[in-house]
Amino acid sequence: MATISQPAGQPLRSPRSPEIRETYLNASSGLRSWLFTVDHKRIAWLYLMAISFMFLIGSAAATVMRLELLTPQGDMIQAGTYNKLFTMHGVVMIFLFLVPSIPAVLGNFFIPMMIGARDVAFPRLNLLSWYVYMFGAAFILYALVTGGVDTGWTFYTPLSTTNYTQNVVPTALGILIVGFSSILTGLNFIVTIHKMRAPGLTWFKMQLFLWSLYATSLIQVLATPVLAITLLLVAIERTLRVGIYDPALGGDPLLFQHMFWFYSHPAVYIMILPGMGVVSELISTFTRKNIFGYKFVAISSVAIAVYGFLVWGHHLFVAGQSVYAGMVFSVLSFFVAIPSSIKVFNWTATLWRGSVSLQTPMLYALGFIGLFVVGGLTGLFLAALALDVHLSDTYFVVAHFHYVMVGGMLLAYLGGLHYWWPKMTGRMYPEFLGKISAVVVFVGFNLTFFPQFVAGALGMNRRYYAYDSEFQIYNVLSTAGSTILGLGFMLPLLYLTWSLKFGKLASDNPWGSEGLEWKSATPPPTENFDEQLVVVRGPHHYTAKEQVVG
């Protein structure tokens, strides 16, 4: 580990030589050099800034909601305000944070590096997709500050197409525009992974992060257009009164739900597959083994992406869909659990006879597995027809998808961010604080969301601003947990920012990982690698001859 002391504020130096080495961070400077960059690594930073801001907005909304729910009466804010808050929380967290989080930040930074390329296939398109994202986000934020939307992130018709609500059109247009950013990013990644791999890097030599992001990109490209069509039709029905979804105009309200979930269920996999990819990398590195049953795990990502398109109807079991349609969607939903369980068993088996090192990223990865298992299994409760009748639209559902999306995706994102932080910044984060944050987040998360399973099973409905007093105890626990969870999120925000300037300098490969991205200098030069890599071995192949640092 490098121990060269250097005054703070100096340009970054390679720990190996005292001379200033050119990196992607100091290659050029000034705001313009960032806003007009086509370097995938700098674009990743643009996304990181943007989505962190969105995460703060979404969290603020959740905080007010949790405070309101401390007492059963609606006494802190108005019912309408509460409805706008949960709509804002959902829209911002899903479309502006979770969907772009791992793909646009970690994917952008590391896909080219993991395939030994110097950039993505279309660097300018990559920059464009960030601007498209910001443009769409501006619409959504505009709707938010000019009074908000209160339809819920699901925009169910005819509630969303009557004049009773406001600001639906700008929000829908914002989501539509952000969707294009998602499509462009997905397209870029697919082409990059197909065409830019280093010599020798065949498909089954690729790291699992690449497999999962490839599967994610397929969903982004194929499903997002359906969302665009759906929301455009909502806007058309609202403004031109053309009957599409509203029965009063001759439309069909269930049509909206079918179309909406045709995107939004696959989108759930956009929000978990990348997390699975990150966790595969973390487990490999911190056990010094390739993932057990590598090919099964790789193929299971693609299987999830394909199955994900066939299960949307499980959101409609009590919506008025026929009993037989319900049965088909139920059985398909059970099948989608199989590739997920294959992944979990293989991750666990990877630890067997490994060299397990419980550093911060690994703690996050283990937390991910635990929470994802709970989230996945409770998903089966909701896929089971007779049980879903009782549980759907209750807090059981809320707890279930937070276990998958926050417990799964967000923990994987934080784990990945810690893991790659040295490569991205050239600095180490403080390890002790990192471990604390991982534990605090895990504890806070469970305290927040586990009581919601209980409240839901007892019949507490979601989207209720005031509730029956029998459920208060679970809500008090949940609010207490969310306070701890909030602290857990603040910690990394503070110490990661601090480490940008004061963190220990990182070596090229502080974890001793065999991942291709670690073959570059830290931080990487603009070209990523000084010379063209040629891949001869499979992913994460550790041998005793390898000199392992730190």
């Binding site: 019912a79 409805n83 209160d150 819920g152 009773y164 609500t165 029965p247 009063a248 069909d252 309200p253 056990t287 049953g293 590598y294 099964f296 079991f317 009590v318 008025g320 009993v323 319900g326 049965m327 139920s330 059985v331 059970f334 099948f335 659990a337 199989i338 979990v344 068993f345 293989n346 666990t348 630890l351 067997w352 006879r353 490994g354 060299s355 397990v356 090192s357 419980l358 283990l366 597995i369 298992v373 709970v374 299994l377 409760f381 896929a383 089971a384 027809l385 007779a386 009748v389 009782h390 099973a457 007892l458 019949g459 409905n461 989207r463 209720y464 029956d468 041998t543 005793a544 392992v548």
Partner: protein, 339 residues
């Protein structure tokens, strides 16, 4: 899971606890394995490199097929239960429910309307026929483990049999706008004798079919739909539950949804011999949802296959049509209402 008060609640809860137990075993097993491996195989020296394992086909197949079999088993269990709870009992007492922002209205078979309340007898299968006046709502009774979305523009049904007297929470479970969380009420299950006493105590309302007849006359339906087949429109006597031949060659079962659609959108499914285009004007925007329910009750009272439906206390239902046969063409065709 909370209090059980319907015939299916116990079966749902067994499934729930079975799945909870299975999930706890799986989660616990994985957690223990992770914990054990993390300690047993912890990194002991910085340069340690473990033996590289590739995976094992037998193991992969094992943990593919065991979850697959378990999933198939739970799917079948839940699906069969679902089919059973979705199918209404043949002798079910039918209650009409309308949802609107932000209240529930329910109509007893004998005609009493209740707001945000519903009284049902214990042990009597009940079928709710529900529709919404504005947006989507959802009728949810946690103690009965039953819920169903209530859609504008069509009828959905929800079936249950209460097994325990008591008052239970009724919630709207589908987000429906500002006061969604205030769209709550109660369902009271009563012993049959108490239920009858309660019905007596309510203002003895006009029966739905009798109200339906008044609407039928005031909207002038009787001008064309006469008791014989001599009117501009087909007769409605003995029609309910029958298969009708449509002009486009298809057949349709005359049920609540078809009657509703024919009143609001007569051009959509025209009966053979009466168009297209049908000469009937639309009544959309003129007839409201409660009037529709009354009209359907009246048309049902004119006879048809499922005449026995609506057990409970609705003995007045078939009678209403028979005794107060409209003046316009009573003729000899009194074969409509069967006892």
């Amino acid at each position: 899971m909370g209090e059980q008060a319907s015939s299916i609640a116990g079966q749902i809860d067994i499934l729930f606890w079975f799945m909870t137990l299975a999930s706890a075993v799986i989660t616990g097993g994985i957690a223990l394995a992770l914990l054990f491996f993390s300690i047993r195989y912890r990194r002991r020296s910085e340069n340690e490199v473990p033996v590289q394992t590739e995976g094992a086909l037998k193991l992969e197949l094992t943990w593919t097929f065991i979850p697959l079999i378990l999933s198939a088993f739970i799917f079948l269990w839940a699906a069969l239960l679902f089919v059973r709870m979705s199918r209404p009992e043949p002798n079910a007492m039918e209650i009409y429910v309308t949802g609107r922002q932000w209240m529930w209205k329910a109509q007893q078979p004998s005609g009493q309307w209740e707001n945000n309340e519903l009284h049902v007898p214990v042990g009597q299968p009940v079928q709710l026929n529900m529709t919404s006046i504005d947006v989507i709502h959802d009728f949810y009774i946690p103690a009965f483990r039953q819920k169903q979305d209530v859609l504008p523009g069509r009828y959905t049904t929800l079936a249950f049999t209460a097994t325990k007297a008591g008052t239970y929470n009724l919630f709207c479970a589908e987000y429906c706008g500002t006061q969604h969380s205030r769209m709550v009420g109660s369902v009271t299950a009563m012993e049959p004798r108490d239920y009858q006493a309660w019905l007596q105590g309510e203002n003895n309302a006009e029966s739905p079919a009798a109200r339906g007849l008044r609407h039928f006359e005031s909207y002038g339906c009787d001008t064309c739909h006469r008791q014989d087949n001599g009117g501009v429109g087909p007769t409605l006597v003995g029609l309910y539950g029958q298969q009708e031949q449509l002009a486009d060659g298809r057949t349709v079962t005359v049920d609540d949804s078809y009657i509703r659609e024919s009143i609001l959108n007569p051009q959509k499914q025209v009966v053979q011999g009466y168009g297209p285009p049908s000469r009937m004007p639309t009544y959309a925007g003129r007839v409201n949802e409660t009037e529709l329910i009354d009209l359907i009750a009246y048309i049902r009272s004119l006879g048809g296959q499922q005449q026995e439906q609506g057990g409970g206390g609705d003995d007045s239902l078939p009678g209403a049509g028979a005794e107060e046969t409209p003046g316009t063409g009573p003729n000899s065709s009194t074969d409509g209402p069967k006892p």
